[in-house]
Symmetry: C2
Subunit: 468 residues, 2 copies
């Protein structure tokens, strides 16, 4: 509650919290968009569900959430989305992916992480990665993410400025990290080159309304201490988030212990790596006593259950993370290791996986999974004051989810259905920053046929690259 | 190969294997249906994939599988399905469900099996189960199964004759088991009543082209030895399959060891329970040395990964089952514990789960998952001679799967996509026994709006039943 109060006051200070309540105006106030008639799952602190409900959007911001009648009385909008029979909820937040890797999905499966990276992914990347290829891959990924209800994503890749431009043009929100890695890659010959690229990237996208530029040192096993600390220093200098893979596989732990005598988290701690705000992807092999340490240093966890299962990486201690109160969200990881960007699948998998592994069917409930994919993800990205729930004054990132197929029938509990039977394809409409990006399944900002055609053409280059 | 030869000879003897090869006729032979232009994933012994390919259907049977040109030269059809850009494959076989339980999906989640059964499912069933309610639930389930590409399913429930009639009317195939359970249920006051019902059911549906009537003793923990053996005797008398839950939870094992001093499999063996053909659902808590015993007694395994995860039941030893050569297929379980009937999800989950638990990303490959859902499922139901792959002389049960969305792009390997990115909603067309049940997403034999409306009305009865 105090956190929310502080957030509300911050929004007031920024002038984005509207003084008018939903029913106070006599004359309906003209606004940009009303989404009305659906079951509104707000994901606010009270886990309020309005059935039916409505959301009023004024420009980039949520003006009010209320009953359809109250919203209709208080507001009149240029555009209305009828959500009757559907669910309206905050857009999903994918806390870890590598967007352009959609271009490598299904290229090689059923391999362990290190084999898969070294035999297929790194060679394919070495031969295909150009700014143009990254633009095609990013457009395909952004298309898939919008179609499946993701409104904000955290990314780690190369030529991240291209990804940022594609994302901004599509109207989607991203916390996008330029990769820094020890070996020569397509966009940088050395870590020093990569750090220079990153600094230019941080400057180019500073104060962008949709893009939060970030620093993405790949991992403790692909960077030396000097590069890791330079990445941290850049984060401090620009107040930028760090995105990094942490303790993903047992191989990483073995390597870390062999080389440094410490676990990956212990090694990073020994370096005083911790910048102002870090998103640790995976966090599979984290010891119980390391969780408090991470929390103390403002490290958030991105849990990627499908990738961890498919690559046989292990099971992250998610019930312990949840019990600790550390910020934890969900990610799909890149589509090359998942093989899609569907956050509904990530939710379902998080619920299923931890019930099984904990031998406790309550370990991760439907509600807990939904929280991780929305307000939890917002906390992970440091954006809980403006994203992750449908509340007056927050940014207008929301989705409308169909609930009308045989698979959804009957419906006793929309939260159960959102986690256990919904797929990304059920998403009908998507709004980001107040702009409608998809309406009744039709893309508004992206040319879907052109993107698919470009991706198919680019796939021919990938085929050539991995053919011996 | 000898097995396939025997099967082919059996089909020849039955007059269903056509003497004409695909390219031998000079005049195109008139047949009922050609599905052409798609990537045909045959699931035959050679794992043949034709890209592009075509399937010729003559009445209820596959006349030929070949290139589009060869099929066009040899056959002319009243009806054609253009599958260009899509995958054509055998219909999926769901080896374990409780169809009408779709009416209870999402009614209560995040509970252990015994709690869930005793606090919600058994009371709801006690108050709502009537023949009319079962018809509504079965129609909803059959609709959902057809829409998601399942063409044959194995079922265990009450009023199974109602389920059989609904299934037959929809044109779908089922191995349907009338339940026998110790306590009084809606369709039988005693196990003796249930056995009498079962015998009448076996007689009513004997020699039905779509329905194989079966006997469904619920489990070793809900039936005494006398009832179990009477069920077995009925199976012997009618040559009917037995469907039974076996070793699903640790609770069941503890109870079995406490009461009988043996594991569930050991106890059933001590009774000489084994009938001519048994489908054991779950088989989670089966010891390594019990697998050979099951195999020797012609027991097949239905693996239900999603249900086992959601109910925290445990992980079946699937890599050991696969290595043993025992018949193993996939099931969704009832939608009350899954919460849907999507066999693509079951495939993906089988692949993901066993990679993780075995710490081996090759434990269950995409191909192995696809085999379990098709030809493996056919073996489980004793129908591998007529179902489970697209081959000349087999019954014409096939599906057309869309591969044209962002999520499917690009496509390097259709088998990878079928397991790792396809959902039931990607299914465009469904053919069972040569009849088109869904065409380009439109139901041909079922009135979808009427079924959904009836299910929503019946759900009100369920709500009342569980409201204290």
């Amino acid at each position: 509650m105090p956190v929310r109060l502080v957030a509300a006051l911050a929004l007031l200070a920024a002038g984005t919290l509207l003084a008018t309540g939903p029913v106070s105006a006599r004359q309906p106030r003209p606004i940009s968009l009303i989404v009305t008639g659906g079951i509104v799952v707000t994901m606010d602190a009270g886990f309020r569900v309005l059935s039916p409900g409505a959301v009023a959007v004024d420009g980039t911001t949520i003006a009010a959430v209320g009953t359809p009648a109250a919203i209709a009385e208080a507001y009149t909008a240029k555009e209305t989305i009828d959500a009757a029979g559907h669910v309206v909820m905050p857009g999903l937040i994918n806390t870890h992916t590598h967007a352009p890797m959609v271009m490598y999905r299904g290229l090689a499966d059923d391999l362990a992480l290190m084999d898969w990276l070294q035999k297929y992914i790194f060679p394919a990347e070495a031969r295909t990665l150009t700014p143009a290829f990254v633009r095609v891959g990013a457009a395909l990924a952004v298309l898939e993410m919008i179609q499946s209800g993701t409104t904000t994503y955290a990314d780690m890749y190369y030529f991240e400025e291209e990804i940022a431009r594609v994302t901004r043009a599509a109207g989607m929100r991203g916390v996008l990290g330029q990769t820094i890695i020890e070996f020569p890659v397509a966009d940088a010959k050395t870590p020093a080159d990569a750090l220079a690229r990153t600094e230019a990237f941080l400057q180019e996208f500073a104060r962008d309304p949709l893009i939060t530029p970030a620093i993405a040192p790949h991992s403790m096993y692909t960077l030396d201490a000097t590069s890791l600390l330079r990445a941290r220093d850049l984060a401090i200098k620009y107040g930028a988030p760090i995105l990094i893979h942490v303790a993903e596989t047992e191989d990483e732990v073995r390597m870390s212990r062999g080389r440094f005598g410490r676990s990956p988290v212990g090694y990073l701690d020994s370096l005083r790596f911790w910048g102002p705000h870090i998103v640790a992807a995976h966090g599979v092999w984290v010891e119980p006593d390391e969780i408090a340490l991470l929390q103390r240093h403002n490290v958030a966890i991105s849990h990627n259950p499908e990738s961890n299962m498919k690559l046989a990486s292990g099971t992250a201690p998610v019930p312990a993370y949840l019990a600790s109160g550390i910020a934890i969200g969900l990610g799909t990881d890149g589509a090359a290791s998942n093989n899609d960007l569907d956050m509904f699948e990530a939710m379902r998998q998080a619920a299923f996986l931890h019930k099984l592994v904990s031998k406790d069917p309550q370990a991760v409930s439907a509600r807990a999974a939904l929280e991780m994919a929305t307000i939890g993800g917002a906390r992970v990205l440091g954006k809980q004051a403006s994203l992750g729930s449908l509340e007056t004054g927050k940014l207008a990132d929301l989705i409308v989810v169909r609930m009308n197929r045989a698979r959804h029938t009957p419906m006793y509990d929309p939260v159960s259905h959102l986690v256990y039977v919904t797929r990304g394809d059920d998403v009908a409409s998507v709004v980001v920053n107040g702009q409608v990006l998809m309406r009744d399944g039709r893309m508004q900002t992206l040319d879907e046929p052109a993107i698919l055609a470009a991706a198919r053409a680019a796939a021919d280059e990938v085929r050539k690259a991995v053919t011996p």
